[in-house]
Amino acid sequence: PAAAPAAQKQIKIAVIMPSATNDMAFSQSMWSALQSVQKDMGGESALQIAYTDNLFNVPDAAAAIRDYASKGFDIVIAHGSQYGSSVQDIAPDFPNTTFAWGTDVNTFGMKNVYAYTAAAEQGGYVNGVLAAKLTKSKIIGVTGPVEVGDAKTYIDGFVQGVASVDPTIKVNKTWTGSFSDVALMTAAAKTHIQAGADILTGSSQSVVGSIGAAKDAGNVLWFGTQADQASLAPNLVVASQVYDWTAMLKDMIAKRQAGTLGGTVYTLTLSNGGLKIAYNPGYNLPADVKAAGDAAIKGIQDGSITVNP
């Protein structure tokens, strides 16, 4: 079933996020999804949204989750893997509330808990294929924060994608050990460029630093993930893997109105449309390269290509 008819009573969703709603990355992806769902459903009257951001402290999160649940919100989204224990503790006390948390794959076997995750490696693979086709220096730079979560899986997928085209291409990786240290991330990116990389990619909110570095260099291309980063360097960003939670959210709402409160795991993939490759219109991608990218997408969708995280 698609979006719920406007006749339905107002739905109330609360979301808790570890970073700012405008981080150009993980939190923002969920935030904008909620916005668009709200628009589709007909605004505030149909869907009420409450949020708490910059919340990485577990007691605070637990308090927020319990608070929202007891305030009668229908769906409480704990948008951060660190919230798992809290959801597990609190969900049983509110059997009529839907809890969704991610990214993880564990519903604790509870009827009112959804878990969701994104197969970041898939988009990573596609980006990798495109990058491999575009690099001239045969050196690609990867800048990440800490080698965990979708920062890791995205990059693993990316490396596989590159290798699938040309195993001889060198992929250099740097980890700055911090999710927020933009200056160091910039220095890392510049180092890659000095080492000959003509294409960069990376994950976490601090990659905006790398994008800046690419801009300074002028001729270095960028591949984004989590959110569409084209706006940051309109003529250098080739494509971004975009997390699109809207479908998932709409499905949760529909299921809830149909009486199902949870119990399943959502995984954003290219096949279910949760992951999208957003080509940057501002960059004119050679047709053959785009074709290769689309082929990769196809292959992943129909399972002829398997990318392991």
């Binding site: 708490t52 402290n57 308090a63 660190q82 224990s85 993880d104 995750t117 965990v148």
Partner: protein
């Protein structure tokens, strides 16, 4: 105060009775500081088109208005109190410990590794040993800057700031390596968190459906113990002597470097204990961001409690309540959470600024009494 006593009966050497008016003094003025900060916060709220009355109502209500609010405040007060106790000890030896963050991390790491490794031990054995291991780990992280200061005159502010970053990286390393949750690896999510700790190591909950755990009680007990330690034992006496006058301490046979290092080690231990208690009391697994900045806010709590272990108890509860109420208010009026940080910053600034007035005030009261005796 004492000088007054002198004026009416010079050689009676009984201790002056414990002076409650001073306690009030040391508590009312900080509160005034808090209010001043909240007032400015109100202005910001209005600018953000939020109703300040509603907001602060939500704040108070959130902090003390409900069982969950009160327990929340206590849950947050616990690590503040523990870290603060350590800061307090170090400060008495005139050693400034900015290294709380790193020491908390070390305690948390140890308190995660230990129960996961000895997961067959019964709770009555596993819990205390985990707490001890956490304390020791933090203590080691405090000992290093301590000994560097004592033996090589390496400034502790520098070394502790550096040690914080090192601890952070150490945690990254372990969380993506040996400590990473195997199920996360199996599921291909590779999340930066440890496996869930065995249930028997979880600290018992004091109030059902809340996070309030036995650690809170432990913290208060420790506060009292630290008070006795500092003012009733030879070691505490020496720590304070070293802090006030290292030369005279040396001349009276006190091993100054040793007590400097010791105080820093204890400070680290208490921070480590805070980390351990966060893990086995609240999170039940290790997550990045385990410190939640307690290493810094602990310093604030300690100074709010005028560096007195007992003063720390109300101070950390007040500060914990402030944090909880603020979060509650953010949800109530939907202002960006960063506004809260800004307001808290002002609170800290103003409260620290209020100290002078309490001193001046006390002085003026002495004058007053002097006049009376003259007339």
């Amino acid at each position: 105060m004492q000088i007054k006593k002198a004026a009416n009966k010079p050689l009676s050497l009984r201790r002056p009775a414990f002076d409650w008016s001073n306690v009030v003094l040391h508590f009312l003025l900080p509160l005034a500081g808090v209010l001043a900060a909240l007032l400015i916060g109100a202005v910001m709220l209005i600018i953000l088109k939020a109703d300040p009355i509603a907001a602060y109502a939500a704040m108070v209500n959130g902090a003390v208005g409900s069982v969950s609010g009160i327990t929340q405040s206590l849950v947050k007060a616990t690590p503040l109190l523990l870290v603060g106790l350590g800061i307090c000890i170090a400060f008495r030896a005139n050693v400034i410990n900015i290294g709380g963050e790193g020491q908390i991390i070390l305690g948390a790491l140890a308190a995660t590794w230990f129960p996961l490794t000895f997961n067959t031990w019964p709770g009555w054995l596993l819990i205390p040993s985990t707490l001890i291991v956490g304390f020791v780990a933090g203590a080691i992280w405090g000992f290093v800057p301590g000994i560097l200061k004592a033996r090589l005159q390496v400034n502790e502010i520098l070394s502790t700031i550096m040690m914080n970053s090192i601890a952070q990286q150490l945690m990254n390393l372990l969380l993506r390596g040996p400590l990473m949750d195997p199920s996360g690896i199996a599921a291909g999510t590779y999340l930066a968190q440890s496996a869930r700790l065995p249930v028997q190591v979880w600290l018992p909950r004091l109030v059902p459906q809340t996070l309030l755990h036995a650690g809170a009680i432990l913290a208060v007990v420790l506060a009292v113990l630290v008070y006795f330690f500092l003012w009733r034992t030879t070691i505490g006496y020496r720590i304070r002597a070293v802090g006030l006058n290292p030369d005279a301490s040396r001349y009276s046979g006190i091993n100054v470097p040793f007590y400097q290092a010791l105080s820093m080690t204890l400070a680290g231990g208490f921070a480590g204990l805070a980390g351990a208690i966060e893990v086995i009391g609240v999170q039940h697994r290790l997550l990045e961001g385990v410190t939640s900045g307690y290493g810094f806010t602990g310093i604030v709590a300690a100074l709010l409690g005028s560096l007195h272990p007992l003063g720390l108890i109300p101070a950390s509860i007040l500060f914990g309540g402030l944090l909880v109420g603020a979060a509650q208010m953010q949800r109530a009026v939907q202002v960006p959470s960063s506004l809260i940080d800004a307001i808290l910053g002002l609170v800290v600034l103003f409260v620290s600024g209020s100290a002078l007035w309490s001193r001046r005030w006390a002085a003026r009261r002495n004058m007053g009494t002097e006049e009376e005796e003259k007339s």
